[in-house]
């Protein structure tokens, strides 16, 4: 390998402009698609990771089983007794109950249906830590707040779902199931329209709105003591609560989840989905490699005479082999670089669209290894596609090649 070889490859690419560009175009399309898709998959994984870091891996959740979303099944729920029992289990640190119910939110004569969450205001710091969310505006709920409501981020904007005609501001009055509440604050953005349009009230207010739901929890959130493994604690809670409720193993009507469990499930789903999409996009890269191979075969034919001359003046087989493989790899790399650039544009645009449509958690990330990986991959795809034509070129007999017309 020397500089002369590189220069020669490069000049050849310039010479057959149209064909080179078409080949580059075909590879850049595939790289573009892969780059854009994978950047979104990585973005989601990155989001999950930051979430878990902020939330702390010590959080555990006890859910009731049932046929609906937590808290929505009228026949399966967790009770105050369950919670009191769990709070006494060794290793359980802070613990707080969560009420969940569908509610009718009315503002300016318009009605929307969203989740109403009842929480214990004295645990508010623990809850915000568990939700990995902070007060954006106003103040948090505190003890004694009854006709006060704390809202999800989206209520402050008329264009975001739940899209009331008018934006809600601090001090406004909204109706929940017909009862008047004063708005005292907003959470910061979570990043999806469901969470960002929930409303939060105190446990006391909740049991006034839904008297039949008193002490029936959607789920219970708790943290493990420092130095206690949350997964071991989860097993202990499952076993003890099962005995407490008089249920046999495998017949529990509740389940305990640690943050690690939850992240693992989401992480797997995201991984599988982006993998499948990237695989489909990979097909176009295979097609592109075939195109490169084709271009290189043609190049070998066209330049038979040239090869003959090179060999006649002393080029070794390995020199010829290298020239063609490098040329082919170079085609791939150029396609890779342009593909990464375009993929970056597309993914950024996609991220912007997702943000505008209420899903700011769907954001691409562009780590250096993705960029470098894509370009290297394109280079190798090209180089490998060039191997067969290059071998053919290197095996040409100088005399025959010179005679070739």
């Amino acid at each position: 390998m020397n500089l002369e070889d590189l220069k020669y490859s490069f000049q050849n690419l310039i010479h057959r402009k149209m064909r080179s560009w078409l080949t580059v175009l075909s590879i850049l399309i595939g790289i573009m698609a892969i780059y854009a898709l994978v950047s979104f998959g990585l973005g989601l994984q990155h989001y999950m990771k930051t979430l878990s870091e902020e939330m702390g891996a010590d959080k555990l959740f006890v859910y009731s089983k049932g046929t609906a979303a937590p808290g929505m099944d009228p026949n399966f729920y967790l009770t105050r007794d369950d919670m009191d029992f769990i709070s006494k289990i060794k290793g359980v640190n802070e613990i707080t109950p969560m009420y969940f119910k569908a509610g009718e939110i009315e503002f300016g004569k318009e009605k929307r249906y969203n989740f109403v969450i009842g929480l214990d205001p004295k645990d508010i710091d623990f809850i915000n830590e568990g939700f990995t969310i902070e007060v954006y505006k106003g103040r948090a709920l505190k003890e004694g707040d009854i006709y006060k409501v704390f809202l999800g981020y989206n209520y402050q904007f008329e264009e975001k779902p739940p899209s009331f005609k008018k934006a809600v501001s601090l001090g406004d009055k909204i109706f929940i199931n017909g009862e008047k509440f004063e708005v005292i604050g907003f959470y910061e953005e979570v990043g999806n329209p469901q969470d960002d349009s929930q409303v939060y009230i105190t446990e006391e207010a909740f049991t006034r709105l839904y008297p039949e739901e008193k002490d029936k929890f959607g789920y219970i959130m708790m943290s493990a003591m420092p130095n206690v493994d949350p997964n071991e604690l989860a097993d202990r809670i499952t076993e003890k609560l099962r005995k407490f409720k008089g249920q046999k193993e495998g017949k529990e009507d509740f389940y305990v989840q640690t943050l690690t469990d939850m992240l693992e499930i989401y992480g797997n789903i995201i991984g599988v989905l982006s993998g499948i999409l990237a695989l489909i996009a990979l097909i176009s890269l295979i097609v592109a490699s075939v195109n490169i191979m084709n271009t290189m075969y043609t190049a070998v034919l066209e330049r038979t005479k040239e090869i003959g001359v090179m060999k006649a003046i002393g080029a070794k087989n390995s020199d010829i082999l290298f020239v063609f493989i490098f040329e082919s790899g170079f085609l791939g790399a150029v396609g890779g670089i342009i593909g990464v650039l375009l993929g970056w544009c597309i993914a950024s645009l996609g991220g912007f669209i997702a943000k505008v449509s209420g899903y700011p958690i769907l954001q691409p990330v562009f780590p250096w290894y993705l960029t470098a990986g894509c370009i290297l991959f394109a280079f190798f795809a090209g180089a490998i596609a060039g191997v067969l034509p290059a071998i053919q070129a290197s095996k040409l007999k100088p005399v025959e090649a010179l005679r070739y017309e």
């Binding site: 399309i29 979303a69 969203n114 295979i286």
Partner: protein, 407 residues
């Protein structure tokens, strides 16, 4: 004329076998990807839609407004429907029957294993017949429910298999529902729909007695006499419910829907997902097209001398254009044919492998004739379009220049 073009093209393919073959590989991989993905997607969509296929054109459903993604019908409701409404709806003209359906969640135990699920009510009397016809259910083992069947249950076909409880349930077995002993009177025929195959049906009276009755109904099914008049009946039912529930027009806290509408919504959201996958798969087809274009440019350069000769013995520009365009289209189409065959093998093979591996009937492939012809036509068009520029370049060559330029 066309036959000549084709003969000419085939001759050229033979002359440069490797290149033609490589070009075709590009197209056929693309077509195979498109055919197999569309086939699988279409099969999956049909399978999902068939889950709801029993919903006829003469049925309306009434539900209370609320959060629709909270769980089974009625769970996310704010003001549930009351059980006296059905009787009133039945009096609306054009309504054949209005039937309360209750869904109650509970535990289901058999063979010392337990799951949690929903049981659904079967109405008694004449209405039973209507529901049975509407749902088109038949017993595979035992019999259907009849009036007076207390603590008897009719189960969907999946419970007869081992996966749920480790042992199949047979007619005559006893099961525990919410820790109360029920006798299985029958197992329904397999429908391939989870709504049916995992159904737990109990007579209304027993269900309300054992699972609790709070006077609320999950969903009211309304059968209309004349499907053509369904819109008018819908409006009348809405007017009645506004009056009954004391709400103004535009502020309804209930939804009257024809299942057909629900199906359309589901269909369009499924289609959006499919479209995304098709676009990604379609990209490889575009790449294949670029490959054809590349090959054709090379062919024009290679055959410059030939073109010169043809022109000098009287070939018109249009003839030259036709020769190259057809050749390019054929390249695409032959690639397309191979691609369709491969795509069919992939689609059905993957679907079968998926069913075997996951045991889910939902994974089906469905490759329609329309899809096959479309792909064939599309591959030809891709070839043709890719060939237009090179063919145009060839047709514009000056005969004298062409003869001289060739090496």
């Amino acid at each position: 004329m066309l036959a000549d073009y084709i003969r000419f093209s085939v001759g050229n393919f033979k002359r440069r076998k490797i290149r033609s073959f490589l070009t075709m590989i590009g197209v056929f991989i693309g077509i195979a990807a498109v055919v197999s993905l569309i086939g699988l997607g279409e099969g999956l969509r049909t399978a999902i839609l068939s889950q709801f296929g029993f919903l006829g054109v003469d049925v309306l459903s009434v539900q209370a407004s609320g959060i629709s993604y909270a769980g089974p019908p009625g769970t996310g409701a704010i003001t549930p429907l009351t059980d006296d409404l059905a009787e009133k709806i039945e009096k609306v003209s054009g309504v054949e029957a209005a039937i309360n359906r209750y869904l109650k969640s509970g535990t289901f135990e058999f063979n010392d294993r337990q799951t949690i699920g929903s049981a659904m009510s079967m109405p008694e009397g004449d209405r039973r017949k209507i529901v049975e016809t509407m749902m088109n259910i038949k017993a595979e083992q035992g019999r259907l429910l009849k009036d007076g069947d207390a603590r008897k249950v009719l189960l969907g076909n999946s419970f007869a298999e081992e996966d749920v409880f480790g042992k199949g349930i047979k007619a005559g077995d006893s099961v525990l529902l919410n820790n109360i002993k029920y006798e299985v009177v029958g197992i329904m025929e397999k429908k391939g729909s989870f709504l049916f195959d995992y159904a737990v049906l109990i007579n209304e009276e027993t269900l309300l007695q054992d699972f609790g009755d709070d006077g609320s109904v999950n969903i009211i099914g309304v059968k209309v006499r004349d499907p053509n008049g369904i819109d008018k009946v819908k409006a009348d039912v809405e007017r009645l419910l506004r009056k009954e529930r004391d709400v103004k027009e535009g502020e309804e806290d209930f939804i009257v829907e024809s299942p057909q509408k629900t199906l359309e919504t589901l269909n369009s959201s499924l289609f959006a997902v499919q479209l995304f996958v098709y676009i990604i798969a379609g990209i490889s087809l575009i790449v294949g097209g670029i490959g054809i274009m590349n090959t054709m440019y090379t062919a024009v350069i290679e055959r410059t001398k030939e073109i010169g000769i043809m022109k000098s013995i009287g070939a018109k520009n249009s003839t030259i254009f036709g020769i190259f365009a057809i050749e390019s289209g054929l390249l695409g189409m032959v690639g397309g044919i191979i691609g369709i065959i491969l795509g069919l093998i992939f689609a059905y093979g993957l679907a079968a492998a998926g069913r075997a591996a996951l045991g889910v009937d939902l994974i089906q492939a469905h490759v329609s004739m329309a899809l096959i012809f479309m792909s064939l036509a599309f591959s030809f068009i891709v070839g043709l379009v890719a060939g237009v520029l090179p063919a145009y370049q060839a047709s514009k060559l000056q005969p004298v220049e062409a003869l001289r330029q060739a090496k």
